[in-house]
């Protein structure tokens, strides 16, 4: 029998955990160590807005409970920060110069919020909403705030809008500032955005779009946020303008880096036996093969699985096929969904859509040749995972394009089933 290996995982987010679970499912003997600077049990930033809305309690937010690491036969070093990696000696070195040797190493250090370069921003004090500490701080500021006070959110991406929804649900006044013309500009086109905007406004959200913030300052205890042609006042300022990969750790190594750590289709970096997965990794797009960042949870899980499989020497054919943008926005009993390409710019695509104003329903499908490459839905009864499946598996939908728009739930299910019965899991049943 081969000698057992020693796997080290830096980080304890979704990518790290799915890698850990994969390694354990392949090998019962190998040593696994998870090192995280967090002192808390593993949690996902995705859940944070719902702490504010009161949908869950802090104790219910953890992804895995107390006994988890022990059950997985894995040591977990909490509150420990790795300061550098020495690939030549296969070692990681902690802040206190303590060393640890590895056979394979996974960097899953995730991302941190981007701090926008705005004059006076640091001085007024703002919250970038990404960790449980941020959340606790915001909650305590909210508790101190006058009930008539207002919160300003910088950025109307998915994170910004989810915080906005949560705060509105909890009864706070919310103003959202976005430099683009639309809210959720990356995922929804202008047609459906009108509906989403309308629903949010009806719930009390104040939306300021096409407003590039130029400065922030304190004024009579309030925060004044200035943009071209005006300004607004708030008691609390939250920034949500995107995230940036935590790549400091690899700065002085040969590991290739752009906006994130570059990896191949098995999640291996340019240095032997070092892998990266999740928000920290830069990977090719499913559609264009161009490298880029798509820091979303489902991709982090997939990348973690692939990294773990390859680290443990499992299925050699398990390769990453590239990321697919996908976003689901649940707001005030409505569901907006966008999978794949939502607003392609060239003429190579066939776009079919239908808008029902009265019911606040919208559906739009984007095809390239015989393939479905994107879909946008608002309040439609459809299984998002099946739409995702049709795109990812490159299912030939040629003869069903019109029908798929007319009956998306039924036809997508039928096409999924036909494909699965030919080659997939359900054929065995």
């Amino acid at each position: 029998m081969a000698a057992t290996k020693r796997h080290i995982i830096i980080g304890s987010g979704s990518a790290a955990l799915s890698a850990l679970e994969r390694i354990r499912s392949i090998t019962g003997e190998d040593e696994i160590k998870v090192i995280t600077k967090d002192t808390f049990l593993p949690y996902s930033p995705t859940a944070l807005p719902h702490l504010l809305s009161g949908r869950i309690r802090e104790a219910d937010m953890v992804m895995r409970d107390e006994g988890y690491f022990q059950d997985m036969g894995c040591a977990c070093l909490k509150g420990k920060e790795v300061s550098r990696i020495v690939p030549e000696r296969k070692e990681i070195i902690f802040g206190d110069e303590e060393k640890e040797r590895y056979d394979t190493l996974l960097i899953a250090t995730g991302s941190r919020p981007v701090s926008p370069a705005i004059k006076g921003l640091d001085a007024v004090g703002f919250i970038s909403f990404h960790t449980i500490e941020d959340c606790r701080r915001l909650q305590s500021e909210l508790d101190r705030m006058d009930r008539k006070g207002k919160v300003a959110i910088l950025g109307a991406g998915l994170v910004g809008m989810e915080i906005a929804t949560a705060l509105l649900e909890a009864g706070y006044g919310v103003q959202i500032i976005e430099k683009e013309k639309r809210i959720l500009p990356l995922y929804f086109d202008s047609e459906v955005e009108v509906d989403i905007r309308g629903i949010c406004q009806a719930k009390g959200a104040q939306l300021f779009t096409s407003k590039e913030v130029t400065e922030a300052r304190r004024n009579n205890g309030k925060i004044e946020v200035g943009f071209k042609g005006g300004s607004l006042e708030a008691d609390i300022l939250i920034t949500a303008v995107g995230v940036k990969a935590n790549t400091n750790l690899v700065a002085n190594t040969n590991i290739r880096l752009r906006n994130g750590i570059l990896v191949d289709s098995r999640m291996k970096t340019s240095v032997e036996d070092i892998y990266a997965a999740g928000d920290v990794a830069e990977t090719p797009s499913f559609f264009t093969n161009e490298l880029g960042m798509n820091p979303i949870l489902p991709e982090a899980v997939t990348q973690g699985k692939i990294a773990g499989t390859n680290m443990a020497g499992g299925d050699n054919n398990y390769e990453y096929e590239g990321w697919i943008p996908m976003n689901l926005f649940n707001f005030f009993g409505n569901v907006a969904l966008s999978v794949g390409l939502s607003q392609p710019e060239s003429n190579d695509y066939l776009i079919l859509k239908h808008h029902d104003d009265n019911k606040k329903q919208f559906k739009k499908l984007i095809f390239k040749g015989d393939l479905l490459v994107g879909a946008v839905f608002l309040n439609m009864d459809v299984s998002p995972g099946i739409i995702h499946y049709l795109i990812k598996r490159r299912v030939d939908v040629h003869s069903y394009q019109e029908l798929l728009l007319e009956k998306p739930k039924e036809i997508s299910y039928m096409l999924m089933l036909q494909t699965e019965r030919k080659e997939g899991f359900l054929s065995r049943g």
Binding site: S14, S18, E21, Y43, S44, T46, A47, H50, R55, I56, R57, D60, M61, V62, M63, R64, D65, L297, P298, V301, K305, M326, L328, N330, G333, V335, L337, V339, S383, P384, G385, I386, H388, Y389, Y400, L403, E406, K407, K409, E410, I411, Y413, M414, M416, L417, E420, R421, F425, L426, G429
Partner: protein, 439 residues
């Protein structure tokens, strides 16, 4: 390592009749207002594409929904295999619905939580409601949850397709290691004692080879010895029909009459197959063997088979059962019952179709076993201290001809013979039925 197996909902995909939504309605009804009026099985109909089907969760072994859940609210139960949602932890982010490729998990707009099928805790209402056989609930859990380590080495020096090998492997996986297995010269001897092969024993368990005429007597001695030194060791015989019905019957009948606490399994391949296909007293009426040839003067066996399980039941012993590998769930349950008997004798009569002697394709043993039951040629029943009970009844029993035509040993039969055999089969089945009614 053993994988886990669970009861599961089986869907025949895409064969629903148009416009039927009985499953979804039953689901909505069961879930009631508490869970929102949302069915978690969906009937899916589209006239234009001629598609009619039902969709729900298939309780994946590695559920993508659980992997992606940002609060760890979804997990697969290790005991039931059901993928469950902890409502307290669910934040309704909808990520689970984005990654499930089978359309098995839903976002409940009313309750703002994710929701999915929980198999109604083991009695799915949708299955009761489905009148078209599209949905069925398969209970394989009993078999698989009782399976232990495989004690036999892979492969076996028997004729290809021999179900005796599979049956012995299965018996050992259900009854386990702390058992002494007994055999006598016959096909299974090769498996247990490894005659002619290396390493010598194929079974990694305590085995003892007896003579054909003293299996039950030897078991009696061993069992009593261990009792005397204070240990309760199950003693299990796995021997053929020649040993059981002919040569060793005196010893078996004696042990039964004394009520020895042994488990005696006869694998009945209806002949002396190991020595070259000679008749035994369980060879069926008109069946061909080398000693009951077919020709001008002879027409297969002249006498009906000895009904050994019934004879054993009339000894009044604690437990008697018939079994086949065609109905494994049934066999597993009978073995478990057998192991629990501590105050008397157990006899199990296992039909073991012989591809070589019965003349059928080596890949057909399971099909032949099933057909034997479905035609009432070999009814599945048990008798607990004289109380009879049919453990499986085919909804529509098939004519015995369908069993007969599967094997070459009956290829000479004429219509007249078939009628005669059908009568015998009917009479034997009626007798078991009557005994069950009387019990």
């Amino acid at each position: 390592m053993l994988k886990s197996f669970y009861d599961h909902l089986k869907i025949e995909y895409g064969v629903c009749p148009p416009d039927c939504s009985a499953c979804e309605q039953a689901c909505v009804e069961r879930r009631g207002n508490d869970l929102g009026k949302v069915g978690v099985i969906k009937s899916i109909h589209t006239e234009k594409a001629h598609f009619h089907g039902a969709a729900t969760c298939i309780q994946c072994s590695q559920p993508a929904c659980a992997e992606v859940c940002p609060t760890g609210a979804i997990h697969k139960s290790k005991t039931s295999g059901i993928v469950q949602i902890n409502k307290e932890k669910c934040i309704a982010c909808g990520l689970c619905t984005l990654v499930c490729p089978y359309g098995g998990i839903y976002y409940d707009l009313n309750k703002e939580k994710a929701t999915k099928c929980d198999l109604c805790g083991g009695e799915p209402r949708c299955v009761e409601a489905c009148k078209y056989g599209v949905l069925s609930f398969l209970k394989n859990r009993t078999i698989y949850s009782c399976l232990k380590e495989d004690l036999m080495t892979p492969g076996a020096p028997l004729c290809s397709g021999c179900p005796a090998e599979f049956a012995l492997r299965f018996v050992m996986r259900v009854l386990g290691k702390d058992v002494i297995y007994f055999d006598s010269p016959g096909c299974a001897t090769v498996l247990m004692d490894g005659i002619g092969v290396k390493p010598h024993a194929l079974a990694h368990a305590a085995t003892m080879q007896c003579l054909l005429n003293n299996v039950a007597a030897t078991m009696t001695g061993v069992k009593r010895y261990y009792r005397k030194v204070g240990r309760d060791i199950p003693c299990v015989a796995f021997v053929g029909d020649g040993c059981t019905a002919d040569i060793g019957f005196q010893s078996l009948s004696g042990a039964a009459e004394r009520g020895e606490n042994i488990i005696y399994i006869c694998y009945d391949n209806e002949g002396y197959m190991n020595t070259g296909i000679q008749r035994s007293s369980t060879t069926p009426f008109r069946g061909w063997t080398t000693t009951t040839p077919v020709g001008k003067n002879r027409w297969g066996k002249e006498q009906p088979a000895k009904n050994v399980p019934l004879l054993m039941a009339f000894h009044g012993i604690r437990y008697v059962a018939t079994a086949t590998i065609g109905y494994l769930e049934d066999f597993a349950q009978k073995l478990l019952k057998a192991k629990s008997v501590k105050d008397g004798m157990v006899y199990i009569h296992l039909l073991s179709p012989c591809p070589t002697g019965w003349r059928f394709d080596p890949s057909d043993a399971i099909q032949v076993s099933k057909m034997a039951v479905d035609t009432h040629y070999f009814p599945l029943w048990e008798a607990e201290s004289g109380k009879f009970h049919l453990t499986y009844q085919a909804e529509k029993p098939k004519p015995v001809k369908e069993f007969i035509s599967l094997t070459g040993r009956f290829s000479h039969l004429r219509e007249k013979d078939l009628e005669e055999i059908q009568k015998m089969v009917d009479a034997r089945f009626a007798m078991i039925q009557r005994l069950a009614e009387l019990s």
